[in-house]
């Protein structure tokens, strides 16, 4: 008896047992806690007669959106899509602009010129220490204090600002714009290849091959050819996507459920196999620790949960979305529609210049006394868009300028001296020594700032810019479904964050390889 007791005692004093006991108690407690709150939530929702449901995604919300893809959305999903696109629009353009201004400001802060340096520094101190929301509201107030658009005459203008917003002259997209854009990316790739090829030649044969001149002329020639109709060559891709789209339309939703399940199974199998093999090299065989077993088990469990979810209503919903189930979501974002859209945009038969430079235009709204900026020619920015964009860009640019400054300062000390002592010219020094290293230091914090920018666009809600949070709020005010909307926000922002950080990580890794 005593022996048995001491054995039990010894069992519970075993560090491995203790370690896992603590963790499972923790996990059990956590699950109990979550279950408890979910239970309460279910009870509360039952009391208020708003059962948790995704049905609102298919229902017509009956509200209009100030700007974006669908201004009169037919379904909740379309409404959210509009908000998401608006948010992405501001994020992408904002990132480009903030990087540009931030770099200039950062260099200005390193300037030898006293006035330039002090001006940049005071701008930094002002912007950094005022809440972003106040700045956005200030830009809104600034625009709203301009005269009303109605006091101006109808007609074309180079640039215009009124309490309705801002309008600029702009190269407007024509039918061939999407094709040209794709063509443009291909040309950049080609000219990059040319550059690398010439550099390789230079290194191998040791003669001057003028890589930059070659790639630049390739770019110019290809672009010129593309501008005057050559871009139609990418119509091949549209042709292929047309077939793909037709093929995809035949597939049932079950196919996607099965496909995703198989993928999950495959990846978990691969990861387990990798873990097993990592402990085996040659005739020596490593021992598996309890952590290794745990990792394998958890991989399998996660895969199983994922597969189970794929055949639960969640998976059916995803499949319906991918199939492009028109009656359910009234959305045309399914996979067949996606490829169909590509085949429409990339069509052989499109002709004409891809972009046309237009002046902004002030128009009469129908026969009323109200006026508006034209959406077709020039670029019109609403008050909400303008205020959010300005606020977010300037705020982020300031933080980027700090990163740029720190990055350049971190390199330039000994490194540039070493470069100069090798006889490099200033431009070569900057290009070959300082910038590659500075960019590597700058990239990770830059990525953080991009994420912040993406999240900060949600402040647009305060100035009536219909981005995803504002749209979501309107939606749950209509339907009362706060929890699903919150989940959608979470999934959307996580996806954006993940995408951004994986792009940054990709370049980070690439630069690291270059370094070696």
């Amino acid at each position: 008896m005593v022996k048995l007791l001491s054995k039990i005692g010894a069992f519970f004093r075993n560090v491995v047992v203790l370690k896992w006991a603590v963790q499972f108690i923790f996990l059990g407690g956590l699950i109990a806690l979550i279950f408890n709150y979910l239970n309460i939530a279910v009870g509360n929702l039952a009391n208020t007669n708003i059962a948790f449901s995704w049905g609102f995604l298919g229902e017509t919300p009956g509200v209009s959106i100030a700007e974006g893809l669908y201004t009169l959305p037919k379904s909740g999903l379309q409404m959210l899509q509009t908000g998401m696109l608006n948010m992405l629009r501001i994020t992408v353009t904002g990132i480009v602009a903030a990087t540009f201004f931030g770099t200039i400001l950062g260099i200005a802060r390193l300037s030898n010129n006293y006035i330039v340096e002090k001006t940049a520094t005071s701008l930094l101190e002002v912007v950094r220490n005022v809440p972003l929301l106040v700045q956005i509201l200030f830009f809104q107030a600034l625009i709203l204090s301009l005269p009303r658009l109605e006091v101006y005459d109808v007609g074309s203008v180079l640039f215009h600002a009124s309490s309705k917003g801002v309008a600029l002259s702009w190269p407007n997209r024509q039918d061939g714009a999407w094709m040209f854009m794709l063509y443009f990316l291909i040309t950049i790739y080609i000219s990059n290849r040319v550059y690398k090829q010439r550099v390789k030649l230079l290194e191998e044969e040791g003669r001057e091959t003028k890589p930059f001149l070659w790639s630049f002329s390739a770019l110019i020639i290809l672009l010129a050819a593309g501008w005057f109709g050559g871009y139609r060559i990418v119509g091949i891709i549209g042709f292929v996507s047309g077939f793909i789209s037709q093929g995809l339309e035949l597939l049932p939703g079950l196919f996607y459920q099965a496909l995703l399940s198989i993928l999950a199974g495959y990846f978990s199998f691969r990861s387990v196999r990798k873990q097993i093999q990592s402990k085996r090299s040659g005739e020596l065989q490593g021992k598996y620790s309890d952590d290794d077993y745990f990792k394998m088990i958890i991989t399998i469990v996660i895969a199983l949960i994922f597969i189970a979810l794929m055949f639960a209503p969640v998976g059916q919903g995803i499949a319906k979305f991918l199939v492009g189930d028109e009656p359910t979501f009234k959305s045309d974002w399914g996979l067949p529609q996606f490829f169909g859209g590509i085949s429409n945009a990339l069509d052989w038969s499109i002709t004409g210049t891809p972009y046309e430079l237009n002046m902004a235009e002030i128009q009469q709204v129908g026969t009323t006394k109200f006026k508006r900026y034209s959406n077709e020619v020039g670029k019109s920015l609403t008050v909400g868009y303008f205020a959010t964009w300005m606020g977010v860009v300037i705020y982020t640019a300031i933080f980027i300028s700090e990163i740029v400054r720190a990055g350049i300062m971190a390199v330039s000390k000994g490194q540039s001296e070493a470069g100069l002592s090798l006889g490099l010219r200033r431009s070569a020094l900057l290009r070959l020594i300082v910038l590659p290293q500075a960019v590597r230091i700058m990239l990770p914090p830059m990525g953080n700032q991009y994420l912040n920018l993406a999240k900060n666009t949600s402040l647009g809600i305060a100035v009536g810019f219909p981005e995803v949070v504002a749209v979501g709020q309107t939606l749950y005010n209509q339907e009362g479904q706060t929890l699903p909307v919150f989940l959608i926000w979470m999934i959307f922002f996580s996806t954006v964050s993940l995408t951004l950080s994986s792009i940054v990580n990709y370049y980070n890794r690439k630069l690291k390889i270059v370094e070696r």
């Binding site: 010894a10 075993n14 560090v15 491995v16 047992v17 990592s278 090299s281 020596l284 065989q285 021992k287």
Partner: protein, 242 residues
Amino acid sequence: MSIIEAKDVKKWFGDFQALKGISMEIQEGEVLVVCGPSGSGKSTFIRCINRLEQHQEGSIIVDGIELTNDIKNIEAIRSEVGMVFQSFNLFPHLTVLQNITLAPIWVRKKSKSDSEVKAMELLERVGIPEQAHKFPGQLSGGQQQRVAIARALAMEPKIMLFDEPTSALDPEMIKEVLDVMKELAKSGMTMIVVTHEMGFAKEVADRVMLFDDGLMVEENTPNEFFDNPKNDRTKLFLSQIL
């Protein structure tokens, strides 16, 4: 009766096998010097003795207690085995005195005043009582290592492990640490010392061992080891190091 008894100890790091079966015995009061090239598993082995690393096969018995996963055994062994590290590992946020009294107060549950008296005695013994109220960052490397020895001794261990105690020190500081270790050895402490200081091994050690590639290649008295090595590996090692 031997105070440490290791039998066929094996240890893997992932798929790399660091220890390929080490067996040894140490008697009470014995001073054992372990040497060998880097990556030979000598540090891993002595770290296994107080469970900083976990051996996966074989058995280690310290003072009659087997080193298993039982937390009680681990605690018991750790409080009987003191350890001195290559990089000192003093706690930088505590004064020298606090560094030494920390374990007696919190692990041995002794009173603060008693521990401080004891700590001052130990500092006296390692020759730096005047540094008691300084922070580790204000001391030289040799002084820091002597504080580390005092910290280990404060737990009144039966066995002391030294993991290359002089490798991170400037040459002029090595002597002051070795002197303390010699004094400790003469006082009858059981010691296992991983070191490249062959002078120390000749003068103090009762036995010398050579590790190579996870195996114990040679075990001998110092005189035999240095003057008459049996193994070719030992000869090569000695020719490189002397």
